[in-house]
Amino acid sequence: MSNAATFDTRTDTAIPVESPLAFSYRHSGAPRAGSSSRVQLRERAMLGHLILRGGAIVLDEAVRDVLGISLPGKPQALVQDASGERSIQWLSPDEWLVIVPSGEEFPLETQLRERLGDSHYAISDVSGGQTVLEITGEAARELLMKAVIYDVHPRHFPVGKGVTTVFAKATTILRRPSEERWELVVRRSFADYCYRWLLDAAAEYGVNVEQ
């Protein structure tokens, strides 16, 4: 176990917890389009986000032991566990993003630190700093084509790929965990801007926001 100072960022006190989009729902609303909707938008709020840094071989062993999925070594790769609830994404040759269900991030960090011992690595809990916006529906790709500079054609962006790129002038992570689902990982401070951009860009498809 390393001597790094860690702490659980989730409090068990009665402080109300708000997602990064709580403000946006109050100010911009959450349109419902019903059955005519061609794009559905949903925030997957409060998930656990960890950034792993270090050598691929050392981290891979630890991650496979603790999480049961192997670290993607290929650039732009995104892997998930069988349930699809836990994922690891390649961000750079020595950096990965791990997303796990709410509340799992601190136990996971602790287990990884125990397993990694004195190896050369870093783990940062960034759960409070970013959020996941999920985009589904038949017009999802059309919507992305208006907003990201990256080529989202299925030939160029197959399932299991994720990139850090520019979405509406903001730095975001765009990933495709399944055939019909796209995810944007956005900074908390950009969340309102991105949400309002999405509402505007998706208005023509009859956007439906699930809360």
Partner: protein, 113 residues
């Protein structure tokens, strides 16, 4: 649309994701204390400004955020190759004096229009 090949991401990416960071292959003097003022001044402030082939450092700022090297032609702006930090260019001003085909054989193109 202008694409640059990132050697770490292993694919061509939009120019908007990159930033240039000046001349590449500048080595910090091993013993700064032993440098003359002129040597230290040259290291800190003086840069090449060639007409033709130039080796530059770029960063994939929105992306993998890694620094890498670019061999670029300062007249045509053509990117002749990109390569990782610590590696040496295969295309240089000297190699460019020979016929182009010989130098560019089997090499990863740096840019695609």
């Amino acid at each position: 649309m202008f694409y640059i090949y990132c050697p770490y991401c292993g694919e061509h990416r939009e120019e908007e994701e990159f930033h240039p960071k000046g001349q590449a292959h500048i080595e910090r003097p091993k013993e700064p204390e032993a440098c003359s003022d002129e040597e230290w001044g040259n290291y800190l402030f003086f840069r090449n400004n060639p007409r033709g082939v130039h080796h530059e450092m770029w960063v994939h700022a929105v992306g993998c955020r890694k620094f890498f090297n670019v061999t670029r032609h300062t007249v045509s702006y053509e990117i002749l190759e990109t390569y990782k930090m610590g590696e040496q260019p295969t295309i240089t001003a000297d190699s460019q004096k020979q016929p182009r085909e010989a130098a560019a054989v089997s090499h990863q193109e740096g840019v695609r229009a």
